[in-house]
């Protein structure tokens, strides 16, 4: 009987071996995958087990953490001026995850970043609770406030204006303001209770057609309309199509302009004044014929190349992801229309702020960024952003020509009262982009601008106001968007002095 018993013993040994192999597989090979699985609640328990680090603007935290009861998540997120800062901070909810800076910098904020290891180890020995690091942003509270309030005031009656503002420091690429309306308060669903659930559901696009959770500053694309004429002008200058902005013979096109391979004629709002404009006049009067013609002459390939130098056709990471703006390959009529910011041309407010910034910074486009520094709980710097050049869409000479033209737009055009600032060179461009088939919906009112002082250009802004509920003919960049841009620029300049 002993022989079969030995075999049975070996068999039982194999069963045990199978168990050992399996636990090694699960707890060693698969361990990381299982430990960080999205359904594994421990991930979020850990995320909220310690007070999160803060997001800092102008030295002041715009976020906070508060201890909560009755849940396995110990701390909940709080926000100061939540709706105003939501396009920057995003949300960090116990129940609904996180996005934007809260998501991108989660490792530092929750204190799990490898670079905080030393800090955490010290804390462990001194018995202190693990803490998260802080994220110091480049934002400018005054500019953000001007932008957000400006957008709120652009609404008519009870309607909230839909729109966005982005302001950049052209010298460095630092984001100064990123506002979006209508907005939401990320505090309202930071927990995981009943009321948080209700707030979250109410904000859903299906329940709120205004889509308040959409970050219009970075993640919505609009037809840029006439503001795009700056890019077309830059392409014409860079390709030698135009070298004198006051020589009307270089920009002579039929007005109204007949699209190539088509019978469609496009007129200009300024009418006959656009018959023989110089480039400067064409920008001031926003002549469609001139820029349709220039875009057609430069050609699709070169237009794409210039647009891409300004940042089109590529997502930007601030490090929060910004949607890619689009200047597509197109046929001749499509390319001509794209040259005046219509057809399939689409841009984010961030993109158009980058266009203004590149011109203001004498043709050099700096990489946009919104995180200046990551700081450990003991206030030592983990990482600091060094400004970097993204591209050189314009030569300094051509950039200065465009600056002259854009400054004429402000000093001679309809946006003079709203945007001009005493003692400072201000350049800009209005835009009223058609929206919908046959311009069926309310247009988008655009304004992009910059200010230049003796220290170079401290601010470039892009403002877009969607359907503000205004009467149709009142919608224009100079009425709705330019005042907001003016306020943002003034806020930044006040801070500079």
């Amino acid at each position: 009987m002993n022989k079969p018993m030995r075999r049975v013993a070996v068999f039982c040994g194999l069963l045990i071996l199978a168990l050992l192999v399996r636990v090694n597989w699960v707890q060693f090979v698969q361990a990381d995958e299982l430990a960080n699985h999205e359904d594994n609640r421990r991930v979020r328990i850990e995320q909220f087990a310690h007070p999160r680090g803060d997001i800092i603007v102008d030295g002041e935290p715009i976020t906070g953490s508060v201890e909560t009861e009755g849940s396995d998540f110990r701390y909940a997120r709080t926000y100061t001026d939540g709706p105003m800062w939501a396009p920057v901070t995003g949300f960090a909810s116990q129940a609904f995850g996180s996005n934007l800076l809260e998501n991108v910098e989660d490792d530092v904020l929750s204190g799990t970043d490898d670079r905080l290891f030393f800090n955490n180890t010290i804390d462990m020995f001194t018995g202190e609770d693990q803490r998260g690091g802080n994220v110091v942003t480049t934002l400018n509270a005054a500019a953000q406030e001007a932008a957000y309030n400006g957008l709120l005031e652009a609404g008519q009656g009870d309607d909230t204006a839909k729109g966005a503002v982005v302001a950049i420091d052209p010298r460095t690429g630092a984001i100064l303001a990123a506002a979006s309306t209508p907005s939401y308060d990320p505090s309202s669903f930071a927990g995981n209770g009943e009321s948080d659930s209700e707030a979250w559901t109410a904000l859903d696009k299906e329940n709120d057609p205004d889509d308040p959770m959409l970050n219009r500053a970075l993640r919505a694309t609009y037809p840029p309309g006439s503001t795009f004429k700056i890019v077309t002008a830059a392409a014409a200058l860079e390709n030698g199509r135009v070298d004198d902005i006051d020589e009307s013979s270089q920009t002579e096109y039929d007005n109204p302009f007949q699209l190539p391979d088509s019978t469609t004629e496009i007129s200009s709002q300024a009418g006959a004044a656009c018959d023989e404009p110089s480039m400067r006049e064409a920008l001031v009067l926003s002549c469609n014929s001139t820029f349709l013609g220039l875009s057609h002459d430069v050609g699709n390939e070169e237009m794409i190349s210039t647009a891409e130098d300004f940042g089109f056709n590529e997502e930007q990471f601030l490090p929060v992801r910004a949607e890619a703006s689009v200047y597509p390959e197109d046929d001749d009529p499509g390319n001509a229309m794209a040259g005046i910011g219509q057809a399939s041309n689409r841009a984010t407010p961030l993109q158009m702020a980058m266009v203004a910034a590149a011109v203001a910074n004498n043709g050099t486009l700096m990489e946009p960024y919104m995180v200046d520094e990551l700081v450990a709980p003991n206030l030592s710097t983990i990482e600091r952003h060094e400004p970097q050049e993204l591209s050189q869409p314009l030569s300094p000479e051509n950039a200065q020509l465009l600056q002259e033209a854009m400054e004429s737009v402000v000093s001679e055009g309809s946006s003079r009262d709203a945007a001009s600032i005493d003692g400072v060179r201000v350049g800009g461009k209005t835009g009223t982009a058609q929206n919908g088939e046959g311009n069926a919906n309310n247009p988008f009112a655009w304004f992009i601008s910059y200010a230049i002082t003796d220290d170079g250009s401290p601010v470039a802004v892009a403002v877009v106001v969607e359907d503000a509920g205004a009467e149709r003919d009142q919608i224009s960049g100079s009425d709705l968007a330019a005042p907001i841009a003016g306020d943002v620029m003034r806020a930044v300049l006040d801070g500079e002095n």
Binding site: G13, Q27, A35
Partner: protein
Amino acid sequence: MSSTSNTTVSTAGPPSRRNTELAMLVFAVLVPVLAYANVGLAKDESLPAGMLGYGLGLGLMAGVAHLVVRRWAPYADPLMLPLATLLNGLGLVLIWRLDQEPEITRPALGGPMAADQLLWSVVGVALFLGVLIFLKDHRILQRYTYISMVVALLLLISPMIPGLGDEVNGARIWIRIPGLGGLQPAEFAKIVMVVFFAGYLMVKRDALALASRRVMGIYLPRGRDLGPILAVWGVSLMILVFETDLGTSLLFFGAFVIMLYVATERTSWIIFGVLLSASGAVFVASTNQHVGDRVENWLNPLARINDGVTETAQVMYSFGSGGLFGSGLGQGYSRLIGGIAAKSDYILATVGEELGLAGMMAVILLYALLIERGMRTALAARDPFGKLLAMGLSGAFALQVFVVAGGVTGVIPLTGMTMPFLAQGGSSVIANWALIAVLLRISDTARKPAPAPAPSLDAEQTQVVRA
């Protein structure tokens, strides 16, 4: 095997190894007591209030058991009692540790369970002592072969009796005794059934082994000899179908096939057994909803069901989050498994998460060691009944460990059985202490020095005549 370390045994026989057992028992008590302190420090940063009482209780239990073994089974295996004590102690710590989680210790879920479990452990050890004291020789059990069969069948059928049986989580494996609470009769049936198998096979092994036809190199049993194996298969299948208890049926059938193979030394029985259990399992898995769900769950452990995270997935997350060294006792989140199952069926998840892969392997090896001691007892036993009985008990124990641990870790589909000694549940801990007691009795008999030859009566009579 030096005899110098022994004090209680005459130099003539093999060493009794009782002092080894005592030394091991000190560890077996010390480890859970330290683990208990560890939980308290992790949860409240203070030593738990009940620590002294708990340590003394466990120590007293182990001490009394040791003294009884020393007196009534002096040659018994020295490792089994410490192993059982250690597993039982660790189980108590784990259950107490899970009692500290309010979510799974609500009154609706039965409240805290460590105190009850301690009580059941005391009852288990008392039964252990009773078996050692009153069962002088395991061969006495052979007399009760057919009574055992009847008792085992009654125990197995009892959960199906209306009014007595109780369905929990889709499996009908409980009976409810008023005033006493629930009982899992299968745990006791396991031992009684093995007694029956051992007695039956002891008698029939020659018939089963020799009367067979040889077809294509393997011995096929005669048709009428197939009767018993088909009967046991039928009973197992009935357990599966009517009680939807995959584990118990696998356990019974597996233990029977192992014992049949050991008794007859015929490989053909194994082939028949595997074929029968495989066909039975496939049939039930494809027709029974509950078993089918378990299989589905096993194939896709992380899949969400009704947009909820399943218990199986939670168990996997526990293991994964534990990693190599675990979160430390008291610092894991195995309560996320939810419900009472975290303390019973899924207790290994807490081991895996809080003690890590290292702790998990250690616990599995403790079981492996216990099984190995059982198998060694079977090899050492001098009588065929003892061999079969020890083999059956340790084989059943091994299968149970594999079926539970394999189910929880995902080697095989999950079944509704509990980890011996470790998991919450009175029936399990009591029955397994009895099982250890029987194994100790067999090993004592096996290692006991052979009695001096009895004086021959013939010789005496001759002397009388001469005188």
